[in-house]
């Protein structure tokens, strides 16, 4: 093994491994800076938390050929308009509750999580809640005490997780805010509830 061709030599592949890894990492870091800019709350793709003061619609975009969230008329959550700070505090309460109650090991958020219960990405817009007049209260009531309410014909139920009224309102705020995120058309073909008056 005195001489091996360059393509079979250890040192060539060692250098290649180092270079490929280094370049990939640099590209990933550069893209991460750009992605962070584009997904900070208040950006075009990920709206500010005060978006919960508005009606959220999910409409087909002819140009992109996918559905995208669209901010509609003013329609404050729980009938009370919140400042950016107040909205963020409420959404944060909801996000913290979603983590503390381990929601992601039954549900998916943006499609990530477990598959035992429905995806929550557009749950704010789900026709299950009937009409926009009843939705907020139904959601709060359901989250606080779900186990004896109608779920489905399978008998699969959500357990009572001891969610307080404040936490449940936070969760609803979080879900409404999450429905404003531009997810490149996921979930596809989602059939939103009727929200027009």
């Amino acid at each position: 093994m005195a001489t091996s061709p360059w393509w079979a030599s250890e040192s060539f592949w060692r250098k290649t491994a180092i270079w490929v890894t280094g370049v990939s990492l640099v590209v990933l870091i550069l893209l991460t800076f750009d992605s962070m800019r584009q997904i900070t709350a208040g950006s075009k793709r990920v709206p500010a938390y005060s978006a919960i003061n508005y009606r959220i619609e999910y409409k087909f975009d002819e140009k992109r050929y996918v559905q995208v969230p669209v901010r509609g008329i003013k329609e404050p959550l729980f009938g009370k308009e919140l400042s950016e700070q107040e909205a963020e505090a409420l959404v944060a309460k909801g996000k913290m509750t979603i983590q503390a109650k381990n929601c992601i090991n039954c549900h998916t958020l943006l499609g990530n999580g477990a598959y035992f219960a429905p995806d929550l990405t557009k749950s704010w817009l789900d026709p299950y809640w009937g009409s926009k007049e009843t939705r907020e209260q139904l959601m709060v009531d359901f989250i606080k005490d779900p186990s004896n309410k109608l779920h489905n014909a399978l008998g699969r139920r959500m357990p009572n997780l001891g969610v307080t009224d404040e936490e449940a309102r936070g969760v609803v705020a979080f879900l409404k805010w999450m429905s404003t995120i531009d997810t490149n058309g996921f979930p596809y073909n989602f059939k939103s509830m009727q929200q027009e008056n």
Binding site: A92, N105, Y115, K122
Partner: protein, 496 residues
Amino acid sequence: MATTGVLDSANLNGGQKLAAKYFIAAMILFGAQLLFGLLAGLQYLEPDFLFGVLDFNVNRMVHINALVVWLLYGFLGSVYWLLEDEAGHPVVGLPLGNLVFWVLTTAVAVVVLVFLLAQAGPGEMSTIWFINEGREYIEAPRWADIGIVVSVLVFFYNVAATFTKGRYTGIGGVLVMDLLALFGLYLAGMFYVTNVSIDQYWWWWVIHLWVEATWEVMVGVIMAYGLMKTLGVRRRIVETWLYIEVALMFGSGILGLGHHYFWIGTPEYWLTIGGFFSALEPIPLVAMVVHAVFDAGVNKIKNSNHPTMAWLIAHAFGNFFGAGVWGFMHTLPQINLYTHGTQWTASHGHLAFFGAYATINIAFFYLAMQKWRGNVWMEDALPGNGWKWKWALGLLSMGTVGMTMAMLVSGYEQSQIERAIEGSTWAGYFVAQAHPWFVQGMWWREAFGLMTAAGYALLVWDLLTIGRGEQRPMVDVQDKLTVLSGRASATAIGAT
């Protein structure tokens, strides 16, 4: 002098004694993974089973966390197993390494107990610190995160210092760099943020860059050592292959991360980048199959440990099919739009984790038992013709493949009915969940889960008994090679 045919720790070097502890803990956690997986699987069929006592989210959390921890324990053990041999130096800081094992294991036990007994807490920071972080795969509360970081720092020090005081082989160099990346990435999962897009962005740095990059390189390292040990493949060959694998793995896997950034709010360019690079991800796995099978063939499959060799080959194919083929099937965004968040992912997850990681850990468990019992014979003509290890391999593999296929059927049905037709509403989700094709998949999954569990039971029994009372010594693979072909090259093993 060490005895033959009985478990005697005098047969092991310092690092290997510690490795044995990690392996035992890993096997126990493997059992926990299967148990809680079966419970969660049963809840798909009988929703009232343990409702309000151990709900699905608790069982599923323990299922996936036991998985992650037992695989990591297997890796830590495997590294301690090969460390002294590879570095040519006793493990530096072994007492500290032992202490860390007990601290880490106690922490794992406490976390599991809290998961089972406390389960959830109020929507406050205190829950995230002490009960449950509520982020899939890395649910361990923050106090445990910090404990894990301290433990792995000690582990990293032990490994790096041992190589530094001994010698840095190619395997050693790749291993140290990989561990640095693997542990560094864990930090990306240790903060709370309200913005769910940013949360998931960094969460995937941990999850993806672990299982589709640094863990893959880790098993490349373990495989390289395993092939040298069992087949007597020359170091120059395994190390050249290792560099090729690192280049292909990181070259595709680092930007392949983009396939998790299709639908979480991240910009559209990830659709292209993620699709392209993740489509390349199977390539290094093909390389690993070629490497393992070619080397085995060149050596006429003469090896010193049949169970280990069989599990290494199972790893090569399992990694390619589970991670490579099953991953590729739904990685392009045009498909993933319909499969993301369905049983497709679970199907892929089961075959990939088993094929890529469980198999190679089990291979090392057999390597450990062989040496622990005094370097005994572990080839053909074992008592009962080695039926236990063969059946364990068969049942575990077929059980996992069966679960994978069952969930794939359910996943296809979900993609079609829940996603494409019904549009992922609550009602659409349950229409799909109630469909006979879906339900049938869940029944088959549970049945094959039981088969997997039977394979596990047999594996435990075999590991406890293989080589017991064996008086025939291991025939060193290098002698065999010399006999086989008279090749002088066999003596080059161990030399760079």
